[in-house]
């Protein structure tokens, strides 16, 4: 079932990416402390890329083969990977948006209002969705051939 697959993806993501999550937190804090939005803009780029690590974890643990034991088909397994990246991208967007609002409160910048930053943020989130969407099918294809 999809819910089970997503639970697994989220648990694996949180447990395997702990260090990277701390690094991202550091970027946010640095961005706010140094009053530089560029640090914060790393978040929507890095977080979804980290979600792709789940594929390597599956390969190492042989989850791919083992998942034949469960009531899920390949389509659902592949969909769960895309859904994880989608949810992580949404989370990255929310985290980034909140961080920018906090930063703007720390350092009001009348020349660069939030309205002007919004397209950059949207572009970063779009890129975070587009990159995995292009690379994941290739990755699945390679794994399928190897399998």
């Amino acid at each position: 079932m999809m819910k089970g697959l997503l639970t697994k993806e989220f648990i694996v993501f949180l447990k395997t990416s702990r260090t990277q999550i701390y690094i991202i937190l550091m970027f946010i804090i640095l961005g706010i402390m140094m009053k530089n939005i560029m640090y914060i803009m790393f978040v929507p780029l890095l977080l979804p890329m980290m979600a792709k690590q789940g594929l390597a974890v599956d390969e190492i643990s042989k989850w791919d083969k083992y998942s034949a034991c469960f009531p899920v088909d390949r389509k659902k397994i592949v969909s769960s990977k895309y859904l994880l990246i989608f949810f992580i991208s949404i989370a990255a967007f929310i985290i980034t948006a909140i961080s920018i609002v906090i930063l703007k409160n720390f350092k009001p910048d009348p020349e660069n209002p939030i309205g002007r930053i919004a397209p950059y943020l949207a572009a970063a989130v779009a890129e975070s969705l587009i990159l995995p969407s292009l690379s994941l099918p290739l990755r699945f294809q390679i794994r399928h051939i190897k399998g």
Binding site: K8, V12, W63, Y66, S67, A68
Partner: protein, 275 residues
């Protein structure tokens, strides 16, 4: 009703063919799939699970395999593939959302019974502990059919015996059936009602275990006397300078021969070597 029905299963690989396999597993019984490494046991099981494309017809609990049907099947493969960082609590959370009929209490009961730590990472588990976790998962969603691929391979005799006891417990319910593959024939001999021999991709025989042990016997004789017997009677032989030991069909030899009982392991080894 048959829990499992396989008709004319054929699968071609480069250098290997699983050749027109047909057998069935009656409900409430345990069928052991015996064969040397590379005989086709895992290919048969992967075909049953729908992980491979194949020719032939396979019905599981009366239906073609589907993702939904796996709610009624417990599967244990030779390697339990949970990601390294997960622990028992994580596995429980995942499986709760994976199976429609997940039994949380049964799972925790098995974990306690098997003495598995619930906060230790899967990577720190021994091979026996990993297999027990796989079995606990397979037994905790009210499965009617268990499919096990080499569950005892690489485990010490004590753990193997424990696993056999667990499987015996499972079949106390008349609706529960087991298909188990192994090359450790002695394990299957303790457990199974039916035995199927796979050898080089071919099904040599599939019969009731007790009937096999009744039908086949050892005789000690000479090559000359053996040659006089009906050629269908001899299933396998081993010659040495002291004489010839053969496994024969009791029905097809004269009563004058002194016979000794065989084990399934003897029968398997002699038949495989004869081929």
């Amino acid at each position: 009703m048959n829990a499992l029905e396989i008709k004319n299963l054929t699968k071609h690989y480069n250098g290997f063919t699983l050749d027109n396999i047909s057998f069935s597993l009656p409900q409430g019984c345990i069928l052991g799939l015996i064969g040397e490494n590379g005989a086709g046991k895992s290919t048969t099981i992967r075909s049953i699970l729908g992980s491979l494309k194949y020719d032939g017809d396979i019905k599981v609990l009366g239906k073609p395999i589907s993702a939904d049907l796996k709610n009624r099947i417990g599967v244990v493969l030779d390697e339990v593939g949970f990601p390294d960082k997960l622990n028992v609590k994580d596995v429980n959370s995942i499986m709760k959302n994976m199976f429609t009929n997940w039994d949380n209490d049964a799972f925790l009961g098995y974990i306690k019974k098997f003495g598995l730590p619930d906060d230790k990472a899967f990577s720190e588990f021994s091979k026996g502990m990993k297999m027990k976790l796989g079995i606990a998962v397979a037994l905790s969603h009210n499965a009617e059919l268990l499919i096990l691929d080499e569950p005892t391979s690489g485990l010490d005799p004590l753990v193997r015996d424990e696993i056999i006891d667990i499987l015996n417990d499972f079949t106390r319910d008349d609706n529960h059936s087991i298909l188990i593959s192994s090359h450790i024939v002695s394990d299957l001999e303790k457990l199974c009602d039916y035995i199927a021999f796979l050898h080089k991709g071919k099904l040599m025989l599939c019969e009731e275990k007790d009937a096999l042990l009744e039908q086949y016997v050892f005789i000690n004789t000479s090559e000359e006397k053996l040659a006089e017997l009906d050629e269908n009677a001899v299933k396998g032989k081993r010659s040495s300078k002291w004489g010839t030991e053969a496994i024969v069909d009791r029905e097809l030899i004269p009563d004058s021969f002194d016979t000794k009982p065989v084990t399934i392991e003897d029968l398997f080894i002699f038949m495989a070597k004869e081929d």
